[in-house]
Symmetry: C2
Subunit: 557 residues, 2 copies
């Protein structure tokens, strides 16, 4: 008998059908030509026009010298233009660099040079910034202006033209070629809390597999069709520069749903778009959901047809409850920049659909069940998978077909990410009997006190249940005897400021000690009331900055 | 600037995550351990046990000498055993040959030798047959018996043992290796109407992509969640030896639904299983649906939660109506052995959901909208795509990631399948303004008369609307002057036999000439009433046999 697998050797070129981003367009080209794509209250067009414009954008870029292997950087808010570039740039064989516009100027320069951007598309809001950093560019050859409203612009930059002008006058039709599915399609930079930004990168194959697997998972695993369907109206509220807005614009386009892009995130505009365009599906970080729900304008808007995936950081149970009370179908997704990003979704299982709101909340706040093809485990320090008992806690490691191979041009830091055959997420959590993953902390945010591990997330979740507390963050601060001791920062709701004491909040924690939710060791040494909590450029709690602030504060007494 | 795409060169082996069938099991392993798999009224176990048995089946096969590159042939009715082999055999790196047990004995021998089966698993129903053909085997080394009920068996064959016995005593756990995703996973033989059976073959990559794309398409494109969901109960009624039962057992397993396998197709058993196991989702050829609906036992069964995809041949409008009248959600899928098989599904678009039954029928009877990644066109004889106007008719050509590269070890016949960069389906049809594909005929079944093309499907569909007609088949018979002329065979419903004349049926056609549905040229020369219509081994109309019968009949007068 044979002793090795029989590989199908390709004998005909026609058989070779690489997984390329252009192939995501076959279905919408057939079914969604009249469907709408909307940009704020500024632009509205059909998929038919969108498809035509993808060809024109490619012709425009070609005229600027872009070809296979070139890199195109985009500095824009969430827009139809960005969506056009999501397709046109990689479909040409070029690489799309989604520039993180919330970084500090010197970091933006670093990423543009490090990614080797050839052409840069710049929204007028960032023109002053680019004027300032342009002398340091090492690879950029052309700059295209992105303007929301036509008009004269005064700048010291030499511009190749304005996007809308160039696209309108570009020739129609572009014969997007076939090429290796492992061609690099996108790159962007993660904002680690230490050191320079790190670039991650994804191939056509990875983006196509992510798109169809997430769609297959989102729809099939959640009963009663609460996945992502052709009659949805989709508006992402995670920036398009950050992990391709979780990759869901690709999925939305593939199934041909109406899409709404909100530009810069302004609460009134977001709420108005949800109402006016009848948005049914979004995703965002908890901070954005919190901002929208606590905004006065949200009171008058019916949000009961809105479905929201929360990611980026954990969904606090109190926020989940507030959203459910408004009729919002809210649940958690999990992933990270390095993972393209989606790994798990906190679908309800069929038997949970009839559960009460209070029973559903802990499930919706978990990080969920793996989407198809994702091999994900919680392991002990030796890399051995831990039992699925809802308490054995360890690092989360993963393999699946859409993980970055490493950090772009950074061999050394990539070794931290990949070892022992797995991508190490740096997240800590456990898996329960039903298969639900729950993240309890970042490895580096776990508070290690007297040999015990305390989850900073648990401490935050508890105090967020207090009626006076609007935001919270728990950190470990160095302690001579115990190694570290927990300290919690809280932002009070305006109406409670000056009316709640540190002692009140500590007593609130003591109740949870009595209930057995946390140990006596877990009660924070200090609960500091602050005006705001430091966040990173993508809205996550910035614990590094916080730790320094708290150390300084405590020193002052 | 660069001039070629930047391919991600693999620098770490961990990053390499091939698309292997074993990776479909990650999701059900997490979410569906307690879910059931049922075989008739004979066996019932959980996914947890199923997953354990996959390892045991592999260990059993390994003990028989099976390893990477070996071929395992299976001769079984639809069963849990078959499902175990769908996974265990390819996951070992071996090739699963699903033997078409409905072929003639000499053709079965041909396929077993041509596929180079090393080990053969044989249901006791086929033991006598295998005793007869075994002397002609050229590659088979071991034969394993598949028995529904334990018991003594008398045979001249040297058996390696009985499946259930061998599996029970096999050791647990099997470390399924990683290997090239282009490794051949399955092979089976199509029953062409001319010549020897042709083998098609599919890789792990192809089966994985087919599974997740069909799931993504089935769920996302059909609104209101009428796709394939975790709360479905699935029972295929297309044989597991034929195109992996349309690949849907892989999809069902991936999302962890309850699965029911009915063994040999007996109407009472099928109906009883639908009722008892609360089956919600099946797929079959029109003949099977017709058989079930016209069976007396079906009258007492509530079928209003049953969803059925029809494929293999066109869904006649009359049968669609009969199914809808019973509350069955019926629609068409399209594909063929060479295409793994699914290419399109006749989902309703959101705006059609509120339509009346009569308005929906023509949509449900089309062959539908492409599933994700499928690039499908109707082309003229020069290969140019025809307009989407619902009438421009030509051959259907396709590219997508799950097409057979050719016929196994048959270079010459493969050239007919693949040319000009496309797989040629041999089907003729058109695409309407909404993007729906409709098959009107097989290229070779089109009736060419006096320079005009007449669709044999149209002629069949018309006469099937006549209250007396149960089955119909239209063919072209040679004609000196016109090249060909249409002749239709009909089977009358028992209660109408002897009460309807050929003249009555011809007049029925004339009404459709008056309505402009067919031309005067299209009215068949003869409408012959017969007791039964010849079918191929997979239940399709056998027009080759029919043509000869009709010629003989007409010669006799």
């Amino acid at each position: 008998m044979a002793t090795s697998v029989k590989v199908i050797e390709r004998t005909r070129s026609a058989y070779d059908y690489p997984l390329l981003i252009k192939h995501l367009l076959h279905t919408p080209q057939r079914i969604a030509r009249d469907q709408e794509i909307v940009y704020r209250d500024l632009k509205r067009y059909t998929y038919g026009e969108f498809m035509g414009r993808i060809g024109k954008v490619a012709n425009m870029l070609k005229a600027l010298g872009v070809g296979p292997g070139s890199t195109v950087g985009v500095m824009d808010w969430d827009s139809h233009r960005y969506l056009e570039c999501y397709f046109a740039v990689p479909m040409m064989g070029a690489i799309l660099h989604t520039v993180n516009v919330r970084l500090a100027p010197e970091q933006i320069v670093y990423t543009i040079n490090h990614a080797e951007d050839d052409v840069l598309l710049v929204h007028s809001d960032f023109l002053k910034l680019v004027e300032m950093i342009q002398p340091e560019f090492t690879t950029v050859k052309k700059i295209v202006l992105l303007q929301d409203v036509p008009g004269e612009i005064s700048t010291t930059l030499e511009l190749a033209g304005e996007y809308e002008d160039l696209v309108s006058s570009a020739s129609e039709g572009y014969d997007f070629p076939d090429f290796d599915e492992n061609a690099r399609a996108t790159t962007f930079y993660t904002t680690g809390t230490t050191g320079l930004p790190k670039g991650v990168y994804f191939s056509h194959r990875q983006l196509v597999l992510h798109t169809i697997s997430v769609l297959a998972g989102a729809n099939a695993l959640k009963p009663y069709g609460v996945g992502f369907r052709s009659d949805d109206v989709y508006m992402p509220i995670t920036p398009m520069f950050h992990v391709h807005a979780w990759g869901l614009p690709y999925a939305a386009t593939m199934i041909g749903v109406k899409q709404v892009y909100p530009g810069r995130y302004e609460p009134e505009m977001l709420l108005r778009l949800i109402e006016k365009e009848k948005v049914t599906f979004s995703h965002c970080v908890p901070t954005i959901l919190h901002m929208l729900l606590s905004h006065p304008a949200s009171k008058e808007i019916d949000l009961s047809s809105w479905r929201v995936i929360i990611g980026g950081s954990a969904l606090p149970e109190a926020l989940c409850k507030a959203a459910l009370d408004r009729g919002i179908d809210v649940y958690t997704g999990y992933g990270m920049s390095e993972t393209c990003p989606v790994l798990t979704l906190a679908h309800l299982r069929p038997e949970m659909v009839g559960w009460s709101k209070d029973e559903q909340i802990p499930v919706r706040c978990k990080t969920g069940l793996p989407v198809p093809l994702v091999d994900i485990h919680v392991v002990d320090p030796e890399g051995k998978p831990l039992p699925h008992d809802g308490k054995s806690t360890g690092e989360i490691v993963v393999r699946c077909p859409w993980l970055t191979q490493g950090y772009f041009k950074e061999t050394e830091r990539s070794e931290e990410l990949w070892h022992g055959g797995w991508l190490h997420t740096g997240d800590v959590g456990h898996i329960d009997e039903k298969g639900y993953l729950k993240i309890t902390d970042r490895i580096k945010d776990v508070i290690k006190t007297g040999g015990e591990w305390i989850s900073s997330l648990d401490l935050e979740n508890i105090i967020l249940k207090h009626e006076a507390v609007s935001e919270a963050a728990a950190i470990g601060v160095p302690h001579e005897k115990w190694g570290e001791r927990p300290v919690v920062l809280v932002v009070l709701k305006p109406e409670y400021r000056g009316k709640v004491s540190e002692e009140d909040l500590r007593n609130f924690y003591m109740d949870f000690v009595d209930k057995g939710v946390i140990s006596k060791w877990g009660v924070p040494d200090r609960i500091l009331m602050v005006d705001q909590i430091p966040k990173t450029s993508v809205g996550k709690l910035d614990k590094k900055v916080m730790r320094q602030q708290v150390i300084d504060l405590l020193k002052q007494g």
